[in-house]
């Protein structure tokens, strides 16, 4: 994955800073609570929501089970429709393919539709190293790019910025990238959106190469689909002469009709709308309408490793709606940056360690970035059991060992020894209840757990004693 986040501290350290930033916490709380309430209302409009959810889950599982077959069908359909298909095993290969395609056009700049896949592979940085400038055109991505910042939310990458901060970024940075911010720019969202419109329009109207991802790819027809709100996506997908789409292999669905499920569940789950303002669907190239050259780059980059994990592969069902972020008590307090990846929140906590492996400190810490409350599973429109995968990944991390896990292992070993010996256990329980007034409220040597928690009080009598008395 991207080099952007290398060197990030592990989740607990990164989250501690965020938790102590009152502006960030207020901004995040406002945003996540607003969107989660709206989402619940949008979902309640559909009485068959659970059936749509099940259908989406089943279609995705079926596609993943036969992914080789559907990718080959997709490739054939795209080529028939006039496109060219490239396969990229990892980030470096995908970046090289895109850079070479851009260079072949003779252009030195590209306009970009917001795309998680291109962020994941660090495409902008890779293009910059080749002397190509990539302009992010989604408003939130523009805020992140101009602010020399990192995205902190899947859907609203600048969710951690309030309007005052955004105005300051526009005033200070727009001029270096093109049209400067208007004089006396205020901080109302309407004024800020207008400034972005003016700044980006000159880029759209002269752009000759567009780069996008896709929300879905239809194997049967070769159709690609992008959902968006602002129209920047439509600009990038239709005005340039060359369009390059970089898409994860898991975004495939078998049939045209399958889209009817996800076009109902994705907008309501992500922006809490019945439908997002704009959806573009294109099948190869169309005569005289839109780009005359279309390249599709199919991206693996860890997805086949994820597919190999029987429990963890369900993460590949993800349609990137971000509903799980907005309901997560941990995300709400820690913010997206703490997850050290372009995929924050509950889905990031299971996706990043699977795509990147669990060898780094941050990836090994992510399966623990959760209270396992289950809210993420409840809202997921494709029913990914995120808590199940988190526990599964914790097992993997625990097996590979580490300081915390050695203490835990020793404690568990002692406990299992005692539990195998009923007489010992009974004696220990009795001893514990009789000395209960002497016990500490906090356990020394286990600070990470007990610093924020009181130990439960030992009951007056052990269960065995209570049972015995009851029998008598």
């Amino acid at each position: 994955m991207s080099g952007t986040f290398v060197g990030m501290p592990a989740f607990p350290a990164a989250a501690r800073d965020a938790v102590h930033d009152p502006t960030l916490r207020a901004t995040l709380r406002h945003a996540t609570h607003t969107i989660r309430d709206k989402r619940a209302r949008a979902v309640a409009e559909l009485p068959d929501w659970q059936r749509l959810r099940e259908a989406g889950k089943r279609v995705k599982d079926h596609t993943l089970r036969h992914l080789d077959r559907y990718l080959l069908q997709l490739e054939e359909s795209v080529v028939l429709a006039g496109g060219t298909v490239h396969w990229a095993a990892d980030a470096d290969e995908a970046n090289r393919i895109v850079a070479d395609l851009v260079k072949a056009t003779g252009e030195r700049e590209v306009v970009k539709v917001k795309s998680m896949a291109t962020q994941e592979i660090g495409l902008n940085e890779a293009l910059a190293a080749e002397g190509i400038t990539a302009y992010e055109t989604d408003l939130a991505e523009l805020i992140v790019q101009l602010g020399h910042d990192r995205p902190s939310h899947i859907l609203v990458p600048a969710i951690h910025r309030n309007r005052g901060e955004i105005r300051d970024i526009f005033r200070a940075e727009m001029g270096a990238w093109g049209r400067p911010a208007p004089d006396g720019l205020g901080d109302s969202p309407a004024e800020l959106a207008e400034a972005a419109r003016l700044h980006l329009r000159e880029k759209f109207l002269r752009a000759r190469v567009g780069v996008s991802g896709a929300n879905f790819m239809v194997a049967e027809t070769g159709t690609l689909v992008v959902l968006e709100s602002e129209g920047n996506g439509r600009m990038c997908l239709t005005l340039p002469e060359t369009l390059i789409s970089v898409v994860g292999i898991e975004k495939t669905v078998p049939t045209w009709r399958d889209l009817e499920i996800f076009l109902q569940t994705l907008p309501r789950s992500s922006t809490a709308e019945r439908m997002n303002p704009y959806t573009s669907m294109w099948t190869g190239t169309a005569d005289g309408d839109g780009p005359s050259v279309f390249h599709l780059v199919l991206l693996d980059n860890g997805r086949t490793d994820t597919l190999a994990d029987e429990v963890g592969r369900q993460a590949l069902r993800c349609i990137r709606c971000s509903a799980c972020l907005n309901v997560c008590p941990v995300y709400e307090r820690a913010g997206g940056h703490a997850y050290g990846s372009v995929y924050p929140g509950p889905i990031g906590a299971i996706l990043s360690p699977q795509l990147r492996g669990t060898t780094s400190e941050i990836d090994a810490s992510l399966p623990y970035a959760s209270s396992l409350c289950g809210a993420c599973y409840e809202v997921c429109p494709v029913a990914i059991d995120i808590p199940e995968v988190l526990v599964h990944l914790r097992e993997r991390v625990a097996r590979q060992g580490g300081p915390g896990h050695r203490v835990e292992k020793a404690a568990m070993k002692a406990a299992s020894w005692a539990m195998d010996r009923p007489a010992v256990l009974a004696a220990a329980e009795r001893a514990a209840t009789r000395t209960r007034r002497l016990h500490l409220a906090r356990l020394p040597g286990a600070g990470a757990w007990t610093a924020e928690r009181e130990l439960p009080r030992i009951p007056e009598k052990s269960f065995r004693d209570w049972w015995k008395e009851r029998e008598e």
Partner: protein
Amino acid sequence: MNSRDRVLARIRSALAGAPDAPAGPRDYLAAHVPDDPAAVLDLLHENLADYRALVHRTDGAGLPGLLARLLAARGSATVLVPPGLPPQWLAGTAATRVADRAHSTAAELDEVDSVVTGCALAIAETGTIVLDGGPDQGRRRITLIPDHHVCVVRAPEQIVASVPQAMERLDPGRPLTWISGPSATSDIELDRVEGVHGPRTLEVVLVVS
């Protein structure tokens, strides 16, 4: 081994021995509203308006007059016209017609005040109009660059109740644009603002026969 073969081989090895996963039932609803054209029309009207499209109703005879009034109210001196737009639709307006020629540049289209199109269909439950590049709609760019888009929907024949009903009628071979309300953003503190890059004003004319 090239990357195509490498990725395919990894997939096959990842799935070796995995249980079958049939696609499962489609027991969700084909539509969420009763099959009543008048109710479906009202729902479309309501949902379009809810996402801040300006909605008008007229009949075939009233259409040229209404379109002329909408363009005049906006002060539009020029209007983009797709090649197959019925000429009588714009019979009442004095605005200069601008054709979208193959060599028209995006910058030229940016100078035009308004665009008037038909549509492929409209979806009532979501308040969506769908364009498929047909002769009365033109290329995707002409409904994107001007700041004012007027879209004509013929009721009841172009209106479907739901997304599944729309999928049945659309041709994936054509470039499709689904539009639900004007361009909008919620990227700043999740406050919805209409109009960023696409037309800031969307007017939908429901022509009821």
